[in-house]
């Protein structure tokens, strides 16, 4: 690539030292040689059924029952997950420190951020979410920084969000919900868009070249001592340029060959909930397998009766909408709710199965992906003991098959997830440290 050499020599002349271009060199190899580290957040609204012990139907509790030797017994609503016992753990007692200070309805907005929504920085609403912090660190290695999916497209309604992803300004990132459109944008990138992207990247690279050229004129006028201070700028410029080149390169790397025949792209939110969830989860697994992105969120249902997902239980022949179920306190009502939880567990089990079937160069895709599945409330409007399940990530040091009951802050766990992925952030949101338990190696 002659362009690369030219730029490199320009920058070398500028800063007085040869700057390494590690990323670009890595790009020169086939991308698949490095095992990706990924994250997937799956959100369920309205909490999970946790029956009152006095009703004697504990077997319908979403949280498992602890058994001897640190083992646990799956409840009926999570039983479909039992084949994956050694690849998942239940996390008990977690909560967001800011959760209890908030209007309980806004729990989905803060699930991945932990932001003080009750007392935001002036002019802001939310803060950056876990998936977007991860995306910033993984985007150089894949085609799309992140994939933001939801049962309803867009961002919904502030406080009843339709997306669980928030950018670094705390603004919601609109979600996609149409399987066909998602499929086409991920796997069938059409030529026109590709060329437009390439043109845009080229223009940006030209600009960086010009800026470097211009910086050079300034640099010549500086004394050696000042030139040292300019290094930071020039190094940053160099890295930025490398990133642009990397992005351009993706346009030319052919997509991994995959089998799409099983996809039911006609599934819509109006059709069968099974078909819809499975298609969406298939798309996520395929996107991971082709290393299109390493950060995915999927809001599988929305809070407070918003959105189509609320009606899914009715479509499955149950008597209540999802949100109404979650207000039930009587044994019969709670049992029905737990049966819907079971339906959701079946979907998750399907996803884990798919993720196990795909192989990375080392381990399965699931072994290289941390899957976070859970709710922003335990039962209706209760922001403590959030139902939370972690799956996968064995190759990032996660040790599974546990029911962790130690509690703590969600954001501490998020920091553990970041560290497990090799992302050395000092903190996340209001975290006080990593979770420090038997599940994470770091």
């Amino acid at each position: 690539m002659p362009l690369k050499l030219k730029r490199r020599s320009v920058l070398k002349g500028l800063a007085g030292v040869a700057l390494p271009l590690p990323l670009l060199e890595a790009m020169g190899q086939t991308a698949a040689e490095e095992t990706p580290k990924r994250f997937c957040g799956l959100y369920i609204a309205n909490g999970m059924a946790l029956p009152d012990p006095k009703h004697g139907i504990d077997e319908w509790s979403w949280f498992p029952r602890a058994a001897e030797d640190g083992k646990f017994v799956f409840g009926k609503s999570t039983e479909p997950l039992s084949p994956y016992r050694e690849q998942l753990s239940f996390m008990g007692g977690l909560q967001h420190a800011n959760g209890t200070k908030n209007d309980p309805h806004v729990c989905s907005d803060m699930w991945l951020t932990g932001a003080p929504l009750h007392d935001p920085e002036p002019g802001t609403y939310n803060t950056v979410g876990l998936d977007q912090v991860i995306a910033r660190h993984t985007r150089d290695h894949c085609r799309r920084p992140s994939l933001v999916l939801s049962i309803d497209a867009g961002t919904g309604y502030t406080s009843r969000t339709a997306t669980i992803s928030y950018d670094r300004q705390g603004k919601p990132i609109p979600a996609e919900n149409d399987p066909r459109r998602i499929f086409e944008s991920l796997f069938k990138g059409n030529r026109g868009t590709l060329e437009a992207q390439r043109a845009q990247l080229r223009a940006r690279m030209k600009l960086v070249d010009a800026v470097a050229e211009n910086a050079k004129t300034l640099d010549r006028q500086l004394s050696q001592a000042d030139r040292d201070k300019m290094d930071q700028y020039l190094t940053s410029l160099n890295e930025f340029e490398t990133r642009l080149q990397a992005s351009e390169k993706w346009l030319d790397i052919p997509l991994k060959k995959q089998n799409y025949t099983h996809l039911d792209l006609d599934a819509t939110t109006d059709s069968d909930p099974h078909a819809y969830y499975r298609t969406m989860l298939d798309l996520i697994a395929l996107a991971f397998d082709a290393d299109i992105t390493r950060s995915v969120t999927f809001m599988m249902s929305r809070e407070d009766g918003m959105g189509i997902s609320d009606t899914f239980p009715l479509k499955l022949g149950m008597n209540q909408t999802h949100h109404s179920m979650s207000h039930k306190k009587d044994p019969a009502g709670v049992t029905e709710w737990a049966k819907y939880d079971r339906f959701l567990s079946e979907q998750l089990a399907y996803f884990l199965k798919r993720m196990n079937e795909f192989q990375d160069n080392e381990g399965s895709v699931l072994d290289n992906t941390i899957v976070l599945y859970g709710s922003g409330a335990s039962t209706t409007h209760k922001n403590t003991n959030l139902p939370t399940l972690l799956a996968g990530g064995a190759r990032m040091g996660l040790k599974h098959g546990q029911f962790y009951e130690g509690g703590g802050q969600m954001t501490d766990m998020y920091l553990s997830i970041l560290h497990s992925m090799g992302i050395g952030e000092a903190s996340f949101g209001d975290s006080r440290g990593t979770l420090g338990n038997s599940i994470f190696a770091v």
Binding site: Q169, K206, L222
Partner: protein, 990 residues
């Protein structure tokens, strides 16, 4: 022994050195170093290294690294060592002491080293520092006319030891940030540049208010959850075509919409429906509760002429932001550009509500209103009258409304009313000005069945109510506009522009402007299918000050216009693509446009090479596309992402001191005093080589300019650590008066106070103590001076006649910021004082400091005793001796920054053994005996801020010496201090 004041110390050093002049003459650093090894090091080794050596570093001090060289870092430490030895603070009493001879030898060597160190010529290499986030924001705004807070995409800047963000060593740049700079430049140019050949699209509508103003209201069902819609006959919405000096296209608003109807309760109603008419696009609503609560009478009252607004409670809901009284909600708005909200409003001819009935008077008139009947009222003469209402029992409703002539008064009548012997209750209703015309009179209260009569008494000017009315009558209400997004848990609003006064009794148009990006966010999607989703809200209210009564604001109409253009093309665009006879000659015009912009952005003309590289960008693009503006834009993008723009650069030929170039001086000056880019006048003075000579007058001009507030905000916030007050978690149960908005006003107090001292060139001692404060009514009210302040929301100096007020030390923002929000904290206050006010920074605390003793051992102990217990812990004493004594006098003030109710022992013994009784005593001591030191601290912070770096040892010594020489005789006048720094080599040389 008492420690000598710094001035004395200097004298001592000079005496010693003059005695050893001959030695000093010949002592080069090398000799000095050999003498160190010979005479000093063995002594240090014997007495100091055990505690301050390789193994242990008590108080974080390490002596074995001192090698007798004259590096600044070592010089600062030697200065500290000198103080310790002279004060006999070290070695500690219970350790071996130096012999007299050893002491003498060490002292002599240190003094000499310090003198050498000060004389030593330091390499000067100019400076290269990135614009801070604030500077970048201001600069983009001034260059491009873009108000949007694009710079906020960048992470916050680090803070230097002195408290400032503009320090070259804390200003980092990462690749991530550079990428953001590219993004910001792109977006800024998008916002600035327009297609001049097109007419702009402008959306505008007017909501008019007044009871019965809409003769033909819509019959559609207009739904809105949460806020209470105004009833349909009471407002009109229409699209208007604003008057503009240029041609534009009015953007028609959507009149036919299809939505899913919304949702009911917990379930979505999924049924498509068509809605027609503007009333489904724009809603007029009241928000919040409408009666009771705060202040007097209703927050709002609809009359024929419009909507009357009373100030809302200053306590705001932290989730939703400030609570407005009235709101316009709308579906459709442009996403970018500026929004103008014009409130057509007047100050209502209002009356205030007295606490007591009018005194008996033989000139009173009684009007019969039995059972609420209408009466006629004619005053004997024009003037001020009090109206008291007599009822035959307690009021039936907590609001009493009086319609008198064309005016409507609504007053709160909550409280306990004990009937007199006749079973009658007197309600003091209002004091207002009346003409002697006949007025209709109708009193409304519940059913009105127990109303009896109205007693009208003239109010004498000099009476209590007369004086209260006179004050009330002069008060000017302020309106404010808040913008945000409506959610189903209420609005999320932020104040979009400063509140504006409504001084006129006739309707005037009051315009507010704010960038649409401050509330347009993707969560207001245009294609959302929910009827209620994505509504944007403009809230309007009368701003509260303290609890005082303020005449109501009459709002007749609210007009919304967006994007708002003052001119077409907008000024920012025209400043770049200026009119020129060369417009038809692309190469010439491109050269002029790009050179002009680069000159403004680089704060100097680009040199030939720079210009050529920019023109090359233009040329290449232009040849490809033939799009003139697009190709120029590419070159501008390069300008806005270049180090020439992003960094303040002083070029330097070598390590010797050189004068700044005229353009460097212009930039340094304007980023110092304005925190933004130099204006045309500064740049042209620089081009003409006249800036240096014009410095005093230019400093005056810069300080008088509005942009000086940007300096004041950054400098004062940094120097005094006001960020601590931003993050302190106020215990609102304990300090209910310290609400968010009061906090915001108090946060501004130190900034306005210091601005006043600087602009008026007042003596620096006012920083410590002044017989005035600079306050608005909120701040004055907080300090209990509400009765004496009448400045509304603007800050103005006022006498306080209160021993505990005046100066910065006892301002609530400082004292409260240095607490934990519940309890005062003498250690925080003491450490802050030592660092900021007298420039004797304590060492940073060692790791694992034990907390103040609690539990059993602390039982029954006062804070002072607990402090003493803590100080007695080994290793704590040394530092705390220099911290606690300064903090203890402030113990008289609570965590809200006001005097505690209980008597507090504030006696303290300062580190130099001066006994101090309380804060007043401390202030007196500082202004009489330590003024040089306070001035030094101020100058040191000011100079460090001015040059954007920490000062070197000899620069500090320069300030210590030349500060008093130049400024002390004239009482250290504040503006003179600024000029002193600017005219010093430390600022002028690179």
């Amino acid at each position: 022994m008492n420690a000598p004041a710094p001035g004395l110390l200097l004298v001592t050093i000079l005496l010693i050195t003059s005695a050893t002049d001959a030695l000093a003459e010949q002592s080069e650093p090398a000799t000095l170093q050999s003498r160190f090894q010979e005479l000093v090091q063995p002594v240090l080794q014997r007495y100091c290294y055990d505690c301050h050596g390789e193994k242990k570093q008590k108080s974080g001090v390490r002596m074995d690294v001192l090698d007798g060289s004259l590096e600044d870092k070592q010089l600062f430490q030697w200065k500290h060592v000198l103080d310790q030895l002279k004060n006999e603070a070290m070695p500690p009493e219970d350790e071996d002491q130096l012999t007299e001879a050893e002491r003498e030898a060490v002292l002599q060597w240190i003094s000499q080293a310090l003198l050498e160190g000060e004389r030593k010529v330091r390499a000067k290499n100019g400076s290269v520092r990135r614009l801070t986030v604030a500077q970048f924001h201001h600069t983009l705004r001034d260059l491009l006319g873009v108000e949007d807070r694009l710079a906020d995409l960048l992470p916050a800047d680090g803070i230097s030891e002195e408290g400032f963000t503009n320090n070259q060593d804390t200003l980092v740049l990462t690749p991530q940030m550079l990428e953001t700079y590219f993004e910001i430049a792109d977006r800024a140019l998008d916002l600035c540049l327009v297609d001049e050949t097109q007419r702009p699209q402008v959306q505008s509508f007017r909501v008019e208010l007044g009871s019965g103003v809409n003769a033909a209201p819509t019959t559609d069902h207009v739904q809105l959850n949460g806020p209470k819609l105004l009833s349909k006959p009471d407002y009109t919405v229409r699209e208007v075509v604003p008057e503009k000096a240029f041609a534009f296209e009015p953007a028609a608003m959507q009149q036919t919409m299809r939505f899913i109807e919304g949702y009911k309760g917990n379930a979505t109603v999924r049924e498509w429906k068509t809605f027609e008419g503007l009333y489904h696009s724009v809603f007029a609503a009241m928000t919040g509760r409408h009666t009771g609560g705060y202040n007097y009478g209703r927050f709002s009252h609809l009359v024929r002429e419009g909507l009357l607004l009373r100030p809302r409670s200053p306590n705001t809901n932290p989730v939703s932001g400030p609570a407005p009284t009235f709101a316009v909600l709308m579906r459709e708005l442009p996403m970018s550009g500026m929004l103008q909200v014009t409130v057509q409003a007047a100050r209502y001819d209002d009356g205030f509500q007295p606490h007591t009935a009018a005194p008996e008077s033989d000139v009173r008139i009684e009007v019969d209103i039995a059972s609420g009947k209408e009466a006629t009222l004619t005053m004997p003469a024009p003037g001020v009258y009090q109206l008291d209402v007599v009822l035959d029992g307690p009021p039936k409703d907590d609001v009493m409304i009086a319609d008198i002539g064309s005016r409507t008064f609504s007053q709160r009548v909550k409280g306990k009313f004990t009937p007199d012997a006749d079973g009658e209750v007197i309600v003091p209703l209002l004091v207002a000005r009346f003409t002697n015309e006949a007025h209709s009179l109708k009193i409304r209260n519940g059913k009105g069945d127990n109303l009896q009569r109205v007693v009208i008494t003239p109010v004498a000017e000099e009476s209590e109510h007369g004086r209260q009315f006179a004050a009330f009558d002069k008060r000017v209400p302020y309106v404010s506009v808040h913008m945000g997004v409506r959610t189903d848990v209420g609005p999320r609003l932020a104040r979009s522009a400063d509140p504006l006064p409504v001084p006129s009794a006739t309707l005037e148009r009051i315009a507010f402007r704010a960038p649409l990006s401050s509330f347009a966010s993707p969560d207001t999607e245009t294609d959302n299918v929910n009827y209620l989703a994505g509504l944007r809200e403009i809230g309007i209210r009368s701003e509260p000050t303290d609890n005082r009564q303020i005449p109501r604001v009459l709002v007749r109409a609210v007009e919304v216009e967006g994007p708002f253009y003052e001119t077409w093309p907008p000024n920012g665009h025209r400043d770049i693509f200026f009119p020129s006879p060369h417009k038809d000659d692309p190469p010439t015009y491109a050269n002029k446009v790009i050179k002009g912009f680069a000159t403004r952005a680089f704060r100097r003309p680009p040199d030939e090479k720079e210009l050529e590289s920019l023109l090359a960008v233009w040329r290449e693009r232009y040849e490809q596309t033939e799009d003139f503006q697009g190709s120029v834009r590419e070159a501008l993008l390069v300008v806005l992402t270049s180090p020439q723009f992003l960094y303040l650069t002083e070029k330097s030929a070598g390590p010797q001191a050189e004068p700044l170039s005229p353009h460097e001086l212009a930039a340094k000056l304007s980023y110092f005093l304005w925190n933004t880019t130099p204006d045309e006048q500064l740049l042209s003075l620089a081009s003409d080589g006249e800036l240096q000579d014009a410095l005093p007058s230019q400093v005056d001009r810069l300080m008088a300019d509005d942009r000086f507030s940007q300096f004041a905000n950054a400098f004062v916030s940094g120097w005094l650590n006001l960020d601590k007050f931003d993050v302190v978690n106020i215990n609102r149960r304990k300090f209910p008066r310290l609400g968010k908005e009061t906090q915001r006003a108090l946060r501004q107090e130190p900034i306005h106070f210091i601005t006043h001292l600087l602009r008026e060139n007042l003596p620096l001692r006012h920083l410590i103590g002044s017989d005035f404060i600079v306050a608005n009514d909120v701040v004055a009210g907080y300090y209990g001076l509400g009765n004496e302040a009448e400045h509304g929301l603007s800050f103005a100096p006022m006498a306080h006649r209160n021993e505990s007020l005046g100066g910065i030390l006892t301002q609530a923002a400082i004292l409260s910021g240095l607490s934990n929000g519940s309890e005062s904290n003498p250690i925080k206050r003491g450490a802050w004082f030592a660092r900021k006010i007298i420039a004797e920074p304590p060492e940073p605390p060692p790791p694992n400091v034990p907390d103040l003793p609690e539990g059993d051992e602390a039982k029954g102990k006062t804070l002072r005793e607990r402090l003493e217990m803590h100080r007695d812990v080994k290793g704590c004493r040394q530092c705390h001796q220099k911290i606690d004594p300064w903090g203890i006098p402030f113990e008289a003030f609570d965590a809200g920054g006001l005097l505690k109710r209980s008597k507090v022992d504030t006696r303290s013994t300062l580190p130099d053994n001066t006994p101090i009784a309380d804060v007043t005593d401390l202030k007196r001591y500082l202004t009489s005996e330590r003024l040089d030191q306070v001035a030094f601290s101020f100058l040191q912070h000011l100079a460090s801020y001015a040059v954007g770096r920490s000062l070197t040892f000899n620069e500090m010594e320069y300030l210590r010496r030349e500060g008093p020489n130049t400024l002390a005789a004239a009482d250290y006048r504040m503006r003179d201090c600024v000029l002193f720094v600017i005219e010093s080599p430390l600022f002028l040389e690179k």
